[in-house]
Structures are given as structure tokens and as C-alpha cells.
């Protein structure tokens, strides 16, 4: 009797273990997952080999790579205009409003120059950088560390257009992506966000407590032919210009052709898709 029971327990235990680990093994050994990760790695080594500094971008790739040029010259001295862009984004995306800074959720916001560009050194701060705040948002990096560290692929890069997107239903809330992001672009829902949404927009999903969120470059608006909400809000000023960085005829490319631009923490090799004219 005893022996039989032991044998049964052994078999049951082994079966349970196999059952739990089976999905992982099947997923890992199935070819598509391997093919895609292999491709990513190859593309990566290629680009780093081309430029040892790592700050240069892959130019001329066939696919779309959405990016944005922020022409700060057009919003200097107009904080209310910048706030308009922030509000537009946060209203469209049901971003909750928390009072305490530690619980805050923000997709796009403004901050002093020294916070947005902390590695920028100067002997004497200019009046412009002293008096104005600067936009900060997700950089939609070409080589995003947040995607690299996510253990569930809940955050991922859309290969067709370069947007770094999130699956709020898969995110387990480990906040590893917040550790990986060198720009502080990600927010976590410490409390239930639905109680803190001021104006509810039924066209965009609300999030649940315990997941991470961030700017999605309005991936939901682009297929409808709309521009990102912040860009639309500042359309008249032309401060925010959105488009395909890989398309030589796009407005963003024209701006990059004509103006010297800077980026946030370029030395980290993340290859941001947001460019600043300051």
C-alpha cells in the first residue's frame, strides 16, 4: 500500500512539474519566437559595428520608423501652450490624475532643462533654459532597454513602425521596464486609476491597478489618419512635428536636414526617436 502511494505521488509530482513547464518549453522551441529574436540580435550587432559610438541611427531602412521633432523655439515663453499638449494627451488616453508626485501617471510632461537633459553641462545656464520647461515623453527608442528587460513581452517594439507599445493585459507589474528606461518615461498604477480619471474617453481603454503605462505615440489614432494628440493640440505653433524618420520627404526629415538637434542621453545607445531643437 505504502509503496503504491509513493509511486503514485512520484508520478503525480513529475506530471505536475511537466505540465507547468510545458508551455514555456513549447514556446521557446517553436521556431517563430527563435527566428524573431535571432533577427533582432543580428540587426543589433550590425548597427553597433557600423558606428562604434552607438549614437548614430540606422538610416535608410525600408520600414516606417515614427519619430518626432520638438521645436522648442516655438513654445519658449508659452507654458500654457505646452500644458495644452499635455492635457490633450492625458484626456485622450484616460490618464488618471493623482495628487501625490509618487503616485503620478504621466505620458508627456514638462520639466526643467537640467532634468530632461541631466548630462548636458554648461558653464552658465542660458536665459532660455533657465526660464523654460522642456517636454519629456517616451523616446520610442530604436534599441529600447525596456523591451529588452520585460519578462513577458508585455512591452514590445512594433517592427512595422518602430513604436514601443504596451499590452496592459499581459503586464505583471514587475516594473523592470521602469528600471530599464533611462528617461523615466514610464508610470506605474500604484492605485486603481479608474477612480482618478477626470474626463472619461470611451474610445481608449482604461488601465487596471498594478500595470505600467506610458506614451504610445497614439498608435490607436494613427490608423484613423489622425496625428498624435499632443501634435494635433499644438498644430498651429508647429512645435511638435511627427512623421516617418525613414521617409526622406517627410516633414520630420526636412526639419532634421535643416536644423541641428539634440537628444536625451545619446551615449546610452538607445537611439531615441525624439529630437529636440533648442
Amino acid at each position: 500500500m505504502d509503496k503504491q502511494r509513493r509511486k503514485f505521488l512520484k508520478i503525480a509530482g513529475a506530471t505536475a512539474l511537466a505540465g507547468v513547464s510545458a508551455p514555456a518549453v513549447v514556446k521557446l522551441t517553436s521556431s517563430p519566437s527563435f527566428a524573431s529574436s535571432g533577427q533582432g540580435a543580428a540587426a543589433d550587432s550590425h548597427s553597433t559595428a557600423k558606428d562604434a559610438g552607438g549614437a548614430q541611427h540606422d538610416v535608410g531602412k525600408k520600414s516606417i520608423r515614427y519619430g518626432m521633432v520638438i521645436d522648442m523655439r516655438k513654445v519658449y515663453g508659452k507654458p500654457e501652450l505646452m500644458q495644452k499638449a499635455v492635457d490633450a494627451c492625458h484626456t485622450v488616453h484616460n490618464v488618471p490624475d493623482f495628487d501625490k508626485p509618487e503616485n503620478e501617471i504621466k505620458w508627456i510632461w514638462t520639466m526643467p532643462f537640467e532634468n530632461v537633459f541631466p548630462e548636458h553641462s554648461s558653464y552658465h545656464t542660458s536665459k532660455i533654459t533657465e526660464d523654460n520647461e522642456f517636454f519629456a515623453l517616451c523616446n520610442h527608442c530604436d534599441n529600447p532597454p525596456c523591451v529588452r528587460v520585460c519578462p513577458t513581452k508585455a512591452t514590445f517594439k512594433i517592427e512595422e513602425n518602430g513604436i514601443v507599445a504596451m499590452d496592459y493585459h499581459r503586464c505583471i507589474g514587475c516594473r523592470f521596464c521602469m528600471m530599464g528606461c533611462p528617461y523615466g518615461a514610464r508610470s506605474f498604477n500604484w492605485f486603481n486609476p479608474r477612480d482618478h480619471i477626470k474626463v472619461y474617453n470611451p474610445d481608449f481603454a482604461t488601465r487596471t491597478r498594478g500595470v505600467v503605462e506610458k506614451c504610445n505615440f497614439c498608435a490607436e489614432r494613427l490608423p484613423l489618419g489622425k496625428e498624435p494628440a499632443c501634435v494635433e493640440a499644438l498644430k498651429e505653433s508647429g512645435a511638435l512635428v511627427f512623421g516617418d524618420l525613414n521617409d526622406p520627404d517627410s516633414e520630420v526629415r526636412q526639419l532634421l536636414d535643416e536644423n541641428p538637434t539634440i537628444q536625451r542621453k545619446p551615449a546610452l545607445g538607445t537611439k531615441p526617436s525624439i529630437f529636440y531643437i533648442v
Partner: protein
């Protein structure tokens, strides 16, 4: 063998009851957090990992520390450790259980935890950490249980189990290496972005883990009539000394890199941890006393052990005091300073000091109590078998 844990002196039940109280407190606190949200912790947008993850990091080290007993016995055939390798394996089991509980307490959507297996992601170090932790847990359960069963029956352990014993050795190194890799590969986190993180983790693990085992041995010598022998304690003390010295050496190297290169990102965290970081006229320094306690306790513990060795007077009291100092010191270093110090300067260059909340501390104590509860049961079983074999 489980029945051995069900018989004990009143003191044994008393100890379990005390731990039980903390477990209940922890469970209540966790329920609150589960219903209301992680906002009940001291974490926030710019300091999004806190006490839970730092406890996890430290305890992975405690689990890996058992290696320092298993390796000499099985690889170098060092017979004096014969009676205590099982203690190392059982400590690893309870430490990893604590690690897993801290991870579950830390994630925002615990019910989605299985997504780690349903959507395995080899480019994430957290995925690999899960793999090696579960692997090491399984290996220790197998090895510990099979070897203890064989000892009870007074037969040699089956040959196949040695296969698992030998793989558990690289696994022990891997759990702490991969845990270090969670931190080491993050661009923009200067304090962590150094290759020395992994060896430093291992060094402090190989001191803290054995120190805890020595403390447990000395307690069991008094309360459970279980003596591991002078030679074993002496040897572990040597191991602890070397590991503590190597860890200290690595810490000094960190100081050299930061303060000689003068790169601000490399200085900030050390400055905050040991001297206080000045920013816009305010000095942030709430971890300074803890970090100096770490430094003093490690040096002091080393001094005590060295004194005992030189004078050949390694008494139980002296060893216990030294091991407690080293364990607490390394806990302050890795279980507080490493994670919180690395996060003090946010990516947006604001300074955020960490202050855990009462609820969070309740959960933390509850998980530690659960770990010690399991550890007590396992050690009780191991001692019960030892005593049975002796008589």
C-alpha cells in the same frame, strides 16, 4: 520523516508560535496591499523598487551561501562538513521560498505571474532568474530529502543523487550571478552598471549564508543538543573571513572608480550612502548610519574572528557575536544600501529617499517569519534524524 517536526519541547512550540504571530500580521498586511494596491508601500514613480526587491536580492545570496558547505564536502571530500551540508541545503530551500514570496509581494498583478512561463522571454534576465531559482529550489529539495532519507536508513545515498548534487554547485553560483545581472545591464543606472556587481554579490553571499548557518548551529547546540564540532565551525569561520574581506575589497574598488574618475553618476550613490548627497541645498543622508554600521560590523566581525584564530580561543560566544555582526552588516549593505542607493538619483535627476511604510514592513517581517518557520521545521526534521541515528 515529517512527523519529526510534530514533536518538540515547549520552547520549540513557543518559537513557532512567535513566528506564527508575525506570519498572521504579514498575511493581513498583504491582504490590505492586495485589495488596495502597491501604493501602500513607500515606492513611487521615481523609486519603483524598494524593500521587497532588496530583501529578495539579499536572500538569493543567503540561498547561494549554502554552496560554501556543499562544495568542500562533495568536491574536496572535506569530512568535517558531513553533518552540516544538509543544513546548507535546507537553508537554501527556505531562503528561496522567501525570495519567491518577496517577488510575489512586489508585483502589481500577482495573478498574472504565470505569464512568465506562458510568454517566456529569453532576453529578459528576470526570466532566467526564475529559471535558475526554481531549478535551484528543486535541486535542493531533491538532494536534501534523498540524502536525509538515506542517512536515516543508514545506507549510502543512491548514486543518481550525486548527479543533482554536482549540478547544484554551478546552479548556486548562477542564481546570484543572474540576480546581479538584473541590475548590471541597465543603461543609465550608474551604481549598478558595473561588472563587479556579480562577484561582489557572490562574495557577500559566501559570507552571509555561512554566517547564518553558524548562528543556527550554535543555537541548536544550546537548545537541541546538536554539536557540529569545533573543526567545522573553525573552517566555516575561515571561509566567512575570506569572503568578507573580498567583499570589502570590491567595495573599496567601487570607491576608487567613483572618486578617482570623478564621473558624477558613479559618485552620487556612494556619496549618498556613506556621506550624504547634497542637492539644491538639502542633504539627503538617511542611509548613512546604516552603511557605516555595515562597515563597522564587517571590520569588527573580522577583528573578532581574527583575534579568536590568533589566540586560538574561538569560543562559541565570540564566533556567534562575529557571525551576527557580519550577517547584519552584509544585510545592511545588500539588503538595503545596494538597491535603495542605486535608485536615489532618478533618471530625471531628482533625489528620492526611500521610507518604507508600516504595511510594507509588516509584509516584509511576515515573509521573513514564514522563511524562518519553514527553516525551523526543516532543521527540526534534520536534527530528529541525526538524533535517531545516534541512538
Amino acid at each position: 520523516m515529517i512527523e519529526k517536526a510534530l514533536k518538540g519541547k515547549p520552547a520549540y512550540w513557543m518559537w513557532l508560535a512567535i513566528l506564527g504571530v508575525f506570519i498572521v500580521i504579514g498575511a493581513v498586511c498583504y491582504l490590505r496591499q492586495y485589495m488596495i494596491g502597491l501604493g501602500l508601500t513607500g515606492m513611487g514613480r521615481d523609486l519603483s523598487w524598494g524593500l521587497y526587491i532588496s530583501q529578495f536580492t539579499f536572500l538569493v545570496g543567503v540561498a547561494a551561501g549554502g554552496l560554501m558547505l556543499v562544495l568542500p564536502y562533495y568536491v574536496h571530500n572535506y569530512k568535517a562538513f558531513g553533518r552540516i551540508t544538509i543544513l546548507g541545503e535546507f537553508l537554501a530551500i527556505s531562503a528561496i521560498l522567501m525570495c519567491l514570496m518577496f517577488i510575489m509581494a512586489d508585483i502589481g498583478q500577482p495573478l498574472r505571474g504565470l505569464n512568465m512561463m506562458l510568454h517566456p522571454t529569453p532576453n529578459s534576465m528576470l526570466f532566467w532568474d526564475m529559471v535558475v531559482l526554481l531549478g535551484y529550489l528543486t535541486l535542493n529539495i531533491i538532494c536534501g530529502w534523498v540524502i536525509l532519507t538515506a542517512e536515516r536508513k543508514q545506507v549510502k545515498p543512491p548514486k543518481w543523487v550525486y548527479f543533482f548534487v554536482y549540478i547544484s554547485i554551478p546552479f548556486a553560483v548562477s542564481i546570484h550571478t543572474v540576480t546581479a545581472m538584473l541590475y548590471m545591464g541597465l543603461p543609465g543606472r550608474h551604481f549598478w552598471l558595473t561588472a563587479i556587481t556579480a562577484p561582489r554579490f557572490l562574495a557577500s553571499a559566501f559570507a552571509a549564508g555561512p554566517a547564518l548557518i553558524v548562528l543556527a548551529c550554535l543555537i541548536m547546540k544550546r537548545v537541541a543538543n546538536f554539536d557540529v564540532g569545533k573543526e567545522a565551525i573553525n573552517k566555516i569561520a575561515t571561509i566567512i573571513m575570506y569572503a568578507t574581506i573580498i567583499n570589502g575589497f570590491f567595495v573599496l574598488l567601487e570607491f576608487f572608480v567613483g572618486y578617482y574618475s570623478q564621473i558624477p553618476g558613479h559618485i552620487h550613490s556612494l556619496q549618498y550612502l556613506f556621506f550624504g548627497l547634497e542637492h539644491h541645498g538639502h542633504v539627503y543622508n538617511n542611509l548613512v548610519p546604516f552603511m557605516w554600521t555595515f562597515a563597522i560590523f564587517c571590520v569588527g566581525g573580522l577583528g573578532l574572528l581574527a583575534y579568536g584564530k590568533i589566540k586560538d580561543r574561538l569560543t562559541d560566544g565570540l564566533v556567534a557575536a562575529a557571525c551576527a555582526m557580519i550577517f547584519i552588516g552584509l544585510y545592511l549593505d545588500k539588503g538595503l544600501g545596494f538597491v535603495l542607493g542605486g535608485l536615489v538619483v532618478s533618471p530625471l535627476h531628482e533625489i528620492h529617499e526611500y521610507l518604507p511604510t508600516a504595511n510594507e514592513i509588516g509584509i516584509t517581517l511576515g515573509i521573513w517569519a514564514t522563511g524562518f518557520f519553514v527553516l525551523t521545521l526543516l532543521y527540526k526534521i534534520a536534527l530528529g534524524v541525526e538524533h535517531e541515528v545516534e541512538s
